[in-house]
């Protein structure tokens, strides 16, 4: 124990550990929102949407413009949150209908490269509209301060995410497991051709799923805007993290992304304490181990 304490001086600091767990949970919740959308889209359409991070970035930039329209208004922040995430959902729908729909039957590789092309296009458009400077989004006044947890400060805004994240996970769970539409989505994940043969309009289902997935990316980006630097390049960063989460949890598995997002959140939160220099390597090392031991992820299904 003494040895451990020498190595990690924080190990007996209960409040600090509690705060780390909580901030890990909130990071996990952000990751969950983004990766759930990505995993959902993959599960149904079999497309790994590399532009998912770009959607997240667009929402954050939209948020930065919208929030500054009526800075003091207490309700405006929530309106902006809704508007920017819905705008991104609409963008996703537009892209699905005009581009992705034409390549569902093509090689995976071409689908990947197409969505990669979208990253480049969206990134440049964002640069043209908002310019190269980083932007900041103020937190709503009610959530601007920080809480005192046994003497450790904890930003109040993260509490919002800690509450909103599980609520959205619950809502999604209810949709997937308690509604007819959710049943169709799960059926499409298992065998979309069979679903089509049974008379379901698969093409419309794909569009709907893509819109829902894009909305989740948008919500993640809009929610994250006040706590991250809204900058070019945030798309790549979140894309890689979401990828890792989705791969660890199992592509196409909703519960898998939830568990894996929480796991990765904790890993990031404590990784910084334990190995500050190489915390990012921990993430990829975890992904590598999962892929080697269980290539289809924690809760995914082996691909045939």
């Amino acid at each position: 124990m003494a040895f451990l304490q020498q190595l990690f001086p924080w190990i007996t600091n209960g409040p600090l550990i509690l705060v780390q767990v909580m901030s890990g949970l909130s990071v996990g919740m952000f990751l969950f929102l983004v990766s759930a959308g990505m995993s959902l889209i993959f599960g149904v359409t079999r497309i790994v949407n590399l532009a998912h991070g770009a959607f997240y970035m667009v929402a954050a930039y939209l948020m930065s413009s919208l929030v500054s329209l009526f800075p003091g208004h207490p309700l405006w922040f929530w309106v902006a949150l809704l508007v920017s995430s819905l705008a991104v959902a609409a963008l996703g729908g537009l892209i699905e209908v005009t581009l992705l729909r034409r390549i569902y039957r093509r090689e995976h590789l071409l689908q990947l490269v197409l969505t990669f092309g979208l990253i480049l296009i969206i990134g440049t458009l964002v640069l043209m509209v908002w310019g190269p400077e980083n932007r900041t989004v103020p937190r709503p006044t009610a959530l601007a301060g920080s809480l005192d947890i046994f003497g450790q400060p904890f930003p109040t805004y993260y509490l919002l995410v800690l509450i909103l994240g599980p609520l959205i996970a619950l809502a999604l769970g209810l949709v997937f497991y308690r509604t007819r539409w959710g049943m169709l989505v799960r059926a499409a994940t298992v065998d979309r051709d069979m679903l089509g043969a049974l008379g379901v309009d698969v093409s419309r289902l794909f569009t709907q799923v893509f819109i829902l997935g894009s909305w989740l990316a948008g919500l993640g980006g809009a929610l994250a805007a006040p706590v991250v630097a809204v900058a070019l390049g945030m798309d790549a960063e979140v894309l890689i993290n979401a990828f890792v989460v989705v791969v660890i949890g199992g592509l196409g598995s909703f519960a898998g992304s939830l568990i894996s997002a929480l796991l990765v959140g904790q890993l990031q939160s404590f990784g910084i304490l334990i190995f500050p220099a190489i915390s990012i390597v921990l993430l990829f090392a975890l992904m590598a181990v999962v892929l080697i031991v269980r290539p289809w992820g924690l809760l995914g299904r082996p691909e045939e």
Binding site: G117, I121, T124, L291
Partner: protein
């Protein structure tokens, strides 16, 4: 039969580019040897870069076009080759040529180590694990200040005295690239290359006829890593320095874009792609640097929707129309 089906079913290699290969190679070689004397240094540098990118993309295409394996982390092997050579010069005081020759072996060793795990997976999972290892390589290079110089990079990696002039180094790169491409061509035309294509088309059937699938894939991965490393080492001495972005994931998409642009189902695809990619990059990004990614993205989307076989596919289509 529609041309679409024709192009889809053409056996590798494509006829137009391959049948008269020797003649074309000689003509092209003569052209490439003479041309720098009529060009400014700027274009000599551009040609040098084209050759390096072509070698990198051809190495990448051994995996993608011939093996059907898409790596999202090939920058790792390019960077291992570049850093391997640069570190030998800086830390061990090697002269240029031995350092350059050692670079690819460093990359191949990395490819063997990572590839051992990566080839166990397929499709998206293959791509993801290769990305994960590449990010680890990037982070190690980026964080290990005392050894790799971190984001300061390593400076002063210059070629030997007799290769100092741009044209001399261009000839050197041209010769090494030609050798590399010849080796890659020999590989894809060998029984090994045919086994690789068989695996790409149908891994299960390949296994039934007695091909050791994973071993072939691992060899392809190591060879691809080796030649990517060679391109990386050439680049290190061309650039005079190495930086961690060589291993960053943006760099991993470069050969992918080049191969896609040129056409992945032809040996000449990566070469055509490298020329087209570099020309576009130079002219678009010198005039409208901000719009370059936009143009690149639009081209990618257009290529996929309209001409999924790239330039080589367009040429084949042209040849087919002429024959009709």
């Amino acid at each position: 039969m529609q041309w679409r089906e024709m192009v889809g079913r053409l056996p590798l290699p494509l006829p137009l580019v391959e049948v008269r290969l020797q003649l074309w190679a000689v003509l092209l070689g003569a052209f490439l040897v003479v041309i720098p004397h009529f060009l400014s240094t700027f274009y000599v540098f551009l040609l040098t870069e084209m050759a390096i990118v072509a070698l990198f993309a051809a190495a990448f295409n051994l995996l993608m076009g011939y093996g059907g394996m898409v790596s999202f982390g090939h920058a790792a092997y390019f960077a291992l080759g570049a850093y391997g050579a640069a570190l030998l010069v800086k830390k061990a005081g090697f002269p240029m040529l031995p350092a350059l020759a050692a670079g690819p072996f460093v990359a191949a060793a990395g490819a063997l180590l990572f590839g051992f795990f990566i080839v166990r997976l397929t499709a998206v999972y293959f791509a993801m694990l290769s990305l994960a290892f590449a990010q680890i390589v990037f982070t190690v290079i980026f964080k290990w200040y005392s050894f790799t110089g971190g984001d300061n990079g390593l400076l002063g990696i210059w070629p030997a005295a007799f290769l100092k002039s741009p044209i001399a180094y261009y000839y050197f790169v041209l010769a090494v690239t030609a050798l590399g491409l010849a080796a890659l061509y020999a590989i894809v035309s060998s029984p090994f290359g045919y086994a690789l294509k068989a695996i790409r088309e149908n891994p299960r059937r390949a296994r039934y006829i007695g091909v050791h699938v994973k071993r072939h894939q691992l060899w392809a991965f190591v060879l691809s890593g080796f030649f990517s490393g060679l391109a990386g080492a050439l680049f290190a001495f061309f650039n005079g320095s190495v930086f961690p972005d060589l291993a960053f994931f943006n760099k991993s998409f470069e050969p992918l874009v080049v191969v896609l642009l040129g056409g992945m189902h032809a040996f000449s695809g990566p070469l055509l792609g490298a020329v087209g990619f570099k020309l576009l990059e130079t002219f678009v990004s010198s005039r409208w640097p901000v719009y370059w990614p936009l143009v690149m993205g639009a081209i990618l989307v257009a290529v996929i929707l309209v001409a999924p076989q790239g330039f080589a596919g367009l040429l084949a289509r042209l040849a087919w129309w002429r024959k009709r």
